[in-house]
């Protein structure tokens, strides 16, 4: 069987001044899975995502995208959504999507069609002409997600994509993720929200720069004998205290 690894990080170390942010993190994603990266704030989630993307350099360790060293070309198949909305406030929603589609090499009718399609999937098709500055926080978040989807990548790295969204829209977005997964995309998503964790195929628990547990949510809960993913953190902490 030919299993390909869209993202692979091996023995990643990263420190800022005296603070260790990542301590020997290894992570391999399988094609077509939704991987949830969870952990308290400050645990290194964002740094890990940025290193996997090639936005930051690890002090040591290796990163591979689509089984090779990251190249600019590999970015064509990659959709990134940061914690900040990363939109141009002076421009309209359409102009934003148009720009991000253009730098991904799209053009012509295909681009136009795709922008409308993506706007529809995040429920913004009626607001395309509005200035982003007039958008609400939730609308910006959705537009930001649309900008990550517009070039139909095979791999998504989404940093807290649902933060600040109301439950209805959040559910719609997760439906969208499952739809993308169904089309063969791989998604890595960081989150705080525990009911989202249950929807991931696999989760990695990040604490103080280390992945302390990894696996399907159900298996992990069974392994530690707890009823929710949240409590795995507590269980592991207790275990550590025993030692």
């Amino acid at each position: 069987m030919n299993v390909s690894y869209p993202v692979k990080g091996e023995h990643l170390h990263k420190r800022f001044k005296n603070q260790i942010v990542l301590d020997d993190v290894s992570l391999t994603l399988q094609e077509g899975e939704i991987y949830g990266l969870i952990g308290p704030s400050g645990s290194g989630k964002t740094t890990l995502v940025r290193i996997l993307l090639g936005l930051e350099k690890a002090d040591s360790g290796n990163v591979e995208l689509f089984e090779q060293r990251p190249t600019l070309n590999a970015f064509r198949s990659l959709g990134y959504m940061a914690q900040s909305d990363a939109l141009y406030n002076e421009l309209s929603a359409y102009q934003n999507l148009d720009f991000f589609a253009s730098i991904q090499g799209m053009g012509g009718k295909e681009k136009k069609q795709r922008i409308l399609e993506v706007a529809k999937s995040v429920d913004l098709e009626k607001d395309l002409k509005k200035n982003v500055a007039q958008f609400s926080g939730g609308m910006k978040r959705r537009l930001s997600l649309a900008a990550a989807l517009v070039h139909s990548p095979r791999l998504y790295l989404l940093d807290e994509p649902t933060v600040g969204l109301d439950p209805m829209i959040r559910r719609n977005i997760w439906t969208l993720f499952h739809y993308l997964k169904g089309k063969g995309a791989t998604i890595i998503v960081t989150t705080h929200v525990m009911d989202e964790v249950a929807q991931c195929d696999r989760v990695g628990l990040l604490s103080e720069g280390k992945i302390i547990a990894q696996g399907a949510p159900r298996d992990l809960m069974a392994q530690y004998g707890v009823p929710s993913v949240e409590e795995i953190f507590i269980a592991i902490e207790k275990e550590g205290a025993k030692k």
């Binding site: 600019l72 914690q83 939109l87 002076e90 730098i103 090499g105």
Partner: protein, 402 residues
């Protein structure tokens, strides 16, 4: 290529949609230049002057009553203290000048006016000496005529009694030369010719070229820097970094996007000062535009570079006193020849210094390409260096294999 144009197009969209910035870029420089034009372009008012001790003085004709008020010494002192007059002249020999003295520019005006009058004083003195000399010469001539009369009588007597002795005397006598015709009186007034410019050239005309450079640099620096800084702080730069766009495309996209805009801005600005404010300009408009354009490139590339070291807009604006203000002072607005060597060396590192030099050559001295190619070249070099560093900075933060 497509990425490059996408970048440039986006920046143009951003500027055009941001009406405030647009207004700042175009209207603000025009407004300030108009103000500067009024301040420096206005003709200085005539100095108020007075004379004292004039009654017994024969120098009075040199001090016309239209220019010099007649005052008593007490009056003059009082008026000077009240700043009603800038200076008064004491006509007692030797002539003395008393200045109000608190404003150097008024001092200069008063002095140059008084010095003009002093030239007339000299003429009066010369005339006086001339009449005295003519008198002396006339008395001498009378004496000579009397002597010649005696001589003639003596010759007559000798002719009668000793003609041979007379012949010998006549042969040995030195031949008197005829007196020269009197030389034409010399002109006292100076003839002034100008290699460049003319006597209508005012302060604004010489400030103008520097001002154009300063404003273009300042506004492009602010807007370019903040715009790139925002790219960093809002996270859009990260999005660009996680896309296939190349490092040089990001920087050059900015250069082209702003560049197109700068063409419009510098065209409006230059046309305004040349055709509306009527600045002294004998050069080609195209030459001026080229220099302004190259200058704004260096401003833009420098601002992008410095935005790397700022983490918010306030910190970006903190660069203005550091980067812009020294350039204003060392740009050539004020003479820098007498400054210490290290200050002048600093001036040589400043883009506006070169644009001022080039624009003065074009506008006031009317030199063509030969007068500005060197300064233009240095401005281009500035931009190339800044752009190269910018690309390297982006590359350093992007550990991806190209």
């Amino acid at each position: 290529m497509r990425n490059l144009f996408a970048m440039a197009r986006r920046i143009i969209h951003q500027i055009v949609r941001d009406k405030r910035t647009l207004a700042l870029l175009i209207i603000a420089p025009l407004l300030i230049l108009t103000l500067v034009w009024y301040i420096f372009g206005a003709k200085a008012s005539e100095p108020n002057l007075a004379i004292i001790h004039y009654k017994s003085s024969d120098l009075l004709p040199a001090f016309k009553s239209a220019d010099y008020e007649r005052m008593s010494p007490l009056q003059a002192r009082q008026s000077l203290a009240d700043k009603k007059i800038d200076a008064y002249v004491d006509l007692k020999t030797p002539v003395k000048v008393h200045l109000e003295g608190s404003d150097p520019s008024r001092n200069g005006l008063a002095m140059s006016k008084i010095q003009k009058s002093m030239q007339a004083v000299q003429q009066i003195n010369v005339k006086k000496m001339k009449t005295e000399l003519t008198g002396a010469i006339q008395t001498q001539q009378k004496t000579i005529q009397a002597q010649q009369q005696t001589l003639r009588q003596m010759t007559e007597v000798m002719q009668r009694y000793a003609p041979s002795a007379l012949a010998t005397i006549m042969q040995n006598a030195p031949k008197g030369e005829k007196p020269h015709a009197a030389a034409a009186p010399e002109k006292v007034k100076l003839d002034v010719t100008y290699l460049h410019g003319n006597d209508d050239l005012n302060t604004f005309d010489s400030f103008g070229p520097a001002m154009v450079g300063i404003f273009v640099f300042l506004f492009i620096f602010m807007i370019g820097g903040v715009s790139f800084l925002r790219e960093r702080t809002t996270g859009t730069l990260d999005r660009l970094m996680a896309s296939p766009i190349k490092n040089y495309q990001i920087i050059w996209g900015y250069m082209i996007g702003f560049g197109l805009f700068v063409i419009v801005q510098s065209f409006i600005l230059t046309c305004y000062i040349v055709y509306v404010l009527n600045i002294y300009d004998i050069g080609h408009l195209l030459d001026v535009l080229i220099i302004v354009f190259i200058l704004s490139f260096s401003a833009l590339s420098l601002s992008i570079l410095l935005s790397t070291f700022a983490s918010n807009e306030l910190q970006m604006f903190q660069f203005i006193p550091l980067v812009i203000v020294p350039q204003v002072f060392l740009s050539g607005l004020f003479p820098i020849d007498t400054l210490p060597g290290w200050v002048r060396a600093l001036g040589n590192l400043m883009p506006i210094h070169y644009s001022t030099e080039a624009l003065r050559n074009i506008m006031i001295r009317g030199t063509g390409f030969s007068g500005w190619w060197f300064d233009g070249l240095i401005l281009v070099l500035f931009s190339i260096v800044f752009i190269a560093i910018n690309i390297l900075v982006i590359r350093a933060s992007r550990p991806v294999v190209d």
